[in-house]
């Protein structure tokens, strides 16, 4: 089941997203006319390599979940490409998308809402096999027990219902379901934010173990930068539908370049009473993505705002740690 190291080191990305846009129409007035658009995802580019974790961080409303759902094709993106192993899945229809759904799976934040409360755990875990018409009854039963074992739940859980489990155990069921069909890419949308600290570390360790065992790629979406940095190889920071900076976790943390990334890192409370916080507190709230500010969308809150920021939209540039900020604009 595991992939040979040679394959893992192949330089072809498993997922490659180009200029992805998701604009939701906003209906207004008595005639419900579509005048404006909520530009939840507005021109996103990134790659994920096999076996790699890309962490996606941002505050609520920055479009990180929408982006995840576009890639899982729960939404039909407005524009752009989503190449999965070389095939553009952005515009595939229901039927054509089916085989890709086996390879791209999703883990949700709230396992209580993402698990059918009227189905037993056995039924929940068998469903992916039924949908994709894989194996006979005996095979499916055997796989379900294997899956439960993989995520650290006892085999007797099969006949029990989601409500009989604690939050952490439910998330394990959600994870078991997502790995049922041996996917290649899993989109984890805030998988640990609803859990207590002591349970959170159990789930993070499980995700890391599973990744090693099955050479999974993760798109790990969360608002907690410490959690994202812990699990990710690379991190992308999102603000108002755009990636403002990306790079290796360590370098983002040590040498954040974008003023937003810097404030985000400095805002995280450190569990050490001797830590002296040199905090850069941002003023105001995240603007609405329906009516984003002109130029750089961060200029309304940026501590280093310049005149040019209000007019010109910065572009993401740079090799190892691309950043989209006029402070780092290369002279043309």
């Amino acid at each position: 089941m595991s992939v040979s190291p040679l394959q893992a080191k192949s330089i072809e990305p498993i997922l490659s997203v180009r200029d992805l846009k998701m604009h939701f129409p906003v209906k207004e007035g008595i005639f419900m006319r579509t005048g404006k658009f909520n530009k939840a995802v507005d021109g996103i580019n990134f790659d994920i390599m096999p076996g790699e974790t890309l962490g996606l961080v941002g505050e609520s409303g920055c479009g990180k979940s929408t982006l995840g759902r576009c890639i899982a094709r729960l939404y039909q993106p407005t524009a752009g490409q989503i190449s999965f192993e070389g095939t553009d899945i952005a515009k595939l229809g229901r039927k054509d998308m089916m085989p890709f759904r086996r390879d791209i799976q999703m883990i949700f934040q709230d396992p209580m809402e993402s698990l059918n409360s009227r189905h037993t755990v056995g039924q929940i875990l068998e469903e992916p096999f039924q949908v994709h018409k894989i194996g006979d009854k005996a095979y499916r039963k055997k796989r379900v027990v294997e899956l439960l074992d993989l995520v650290g739940l006892p085999a007797r859980s099969v006949t029990r219902y989601p409500f009989e489990f604690s939050g952490g155990q439910r998330q394990r069921i959600g994870i078991a379901r997502s790995i049922a069909l041996n996917p290649k890419l899993i989109i984890c949308d805030e998988p640990v934010s609803a859990l207590d600290v002591s349970i959170q570390s159990q789930i993070l360790n499980l995700l890391i173990d599973l990744q090693k065992e099955f050479n999974l790629s993760y798109l790990f979406i969360a608002h907690d930068l410490a959690v994202v940095k812990h699990i990710s190889d690379r991190i992308a920071i999102m603000y108002l539908g755009k990636i403002v900076e990306s790079g290796e976790g360590e370098s983002i943390y040590r040498t954040a370049r974008h003023p937003y990334t810097q404030s985000l890192i400095s805002a995280i409370p450190v569990p050490d009473p001797h830590h002296v916080a040199t905090r850069q507190i941002l003023v105001g709230d995240v603007p609405s993505p329906i009516n984003p500010p002109s130029g750089c969308t961060f200029h309304t809150r940026c501590p280093k705002v310049m005149d040019v920021c209000k007019e010109l939209v910065p572009v993401l540039n740079g090799e190892d740690q691309p950043v989209s900020c006029h402070l780092f604009e290369q002279p043309k």
Partner: protein, 344 residues
């Protein structure tokens, strides 16, 4: 001990449920001095919010009841106070801020009406004066154009702004004590930083004491001077923030501190885990409540719950095996421990 604002002694709070009586808060004691910030930290269901509701006497009626202990606010025992008098204390001498600002505010009344209600209730002000006071309060909590905001409804404000309004309401009558129950949990980190800073500033200005309840050890480390760590309704450990974070002496505190991913730990390293989960309130173990998850468990732990023991000035631990834990702890703070457990 004249400078102690609030002291909670051996508080016991119970709920009657269909399946029987459960003890959500069991023998909890702590005190808070004037101008101090005390953090109460613990995971969901540990009894930290019920402790806060007990202090405010806001337990859901009739199922929640204080069964024992005392809550002394500047020497006055709140447990025995008639509800009528308690109402005069809430808002006036103790302010409270809840987690979800949308549910704490009434959606069909304007900000102004809700804010002046508190002032009119506790102070003998004319409506005009209350209105001016309200505007001043909004200005104090950093809301731009406060006079316009007074006429708006909660849904017109963002989450961070709403929490500022709730704080303004809680502090409108200059209480001596503010109880903040997860005030920033529903907010984004950059907004959380704003709100924590605001609480700190106002605390300095008004000289009040703050009880900050949270699950986030980082928030405690940054805001509080002393901390109470709760587990399954009991106090596991309490002391100054430096004592508890540098020398965690209860196995639960120690593992909890090590299980959080930090920005400076190597990526994809194994996090310390606390195996299993919190026991249900209905089937609490007879002995120590952490017994089923504890790496230091001895047979003696199963017999009776440990009493808090003072192990250093102002540092109390409820664990029979704290000396054993101390022997096993490598000197050099918890970063050294972390590396050890990462290898193991």
């Amino acid at each position: 001990m004249s400078d102690v604002i609030l002291s909670v002694n051996k508080l016991i709070t119970e709920f009657s449920t269909d399946e029987g009586r459960v003890r959500a808060v069991d023998d909890v004691s702590f005190s808070i001095k004037e101008g101090e910030t005390l953090g109460i930290v613990g995971e969901s269901g540990c009894g930290k919010s019920v402790t806060a509701l007990s202090i405010m006497r806001l337990l859901p009626q009739p199922i929640g009841q204080i069964m024992g202990g005392e809550i002394l606010l500047e020497g006055q025992n709140l447990v025995e106070l008639p509800l009528e008098q308690m109402r005069k204390i809430r808002g006036a001498r103790i302010g409270m801020v809840f987690q979800e600002p949308m549910t704490a505010l009434n959606p069909v009344h304007t900000i102004g009406r809700q804010l002046t209600e508190v002032i009119l209730l506790h102070k003998n002000f004319s409506k005009d004066k209350a209105l001016r006071e309200g505007i001043e309060m909004l200005d104090k909590v950093g809301i731009p154009a406060p006079d316009i905001r007074m006429t708006e409804y909660p849904h017109q404000l963002s989450g961070g702004m709403r929490q500022r309004v709730v704080i303004a309401m809680a502090l409108a009558c200059q209480p001596k004590l503010l109880i903040a129950d997860e005030p920033t949990t529903a907010l984004d980190v950059t907004i959380q930083a704003q709100i924590l800073e605001l609480i700190k500033d106002l605390q300095k200005q008004m000289g009040m004491s703050v009880v900050l309840i949270t699950h986030d050890l980082g928030v405690i480390a940054e805001t509080s001077s002393s901390v109470v760590v709760m587990y399954a309704g009991k106090v596991a450990e309490r002391g100054s923030v430096c004592d508890v974070f540098d020398r965690p002496s209860h196995p639960y505190t120690k593992d909890l501190l090590e299980s959080i991913p930090r920005l400076d730990t190597p990526p994809k390293s194994k996090l310390t885990i606390i195996p299993g989960m919190v026991p249900g309130l209905l089937d609490m173990p007879k002995g120590c409540r952490f017994e089923n998850r504890c790496p230091y468990r001895k047979d003696s732990c199963l017999v009776a719950p440990p009493d808090p023991e003072t192990i250093a000035e102002g540092h109390e631990v409820a664990c029979y095996e704290w000396q054993e834990l101390k022997r096993n702890t490598v000197p050099g703070g918890d970063s050294a421990n972390f590396k050890l457990s990462a290898v193991a």
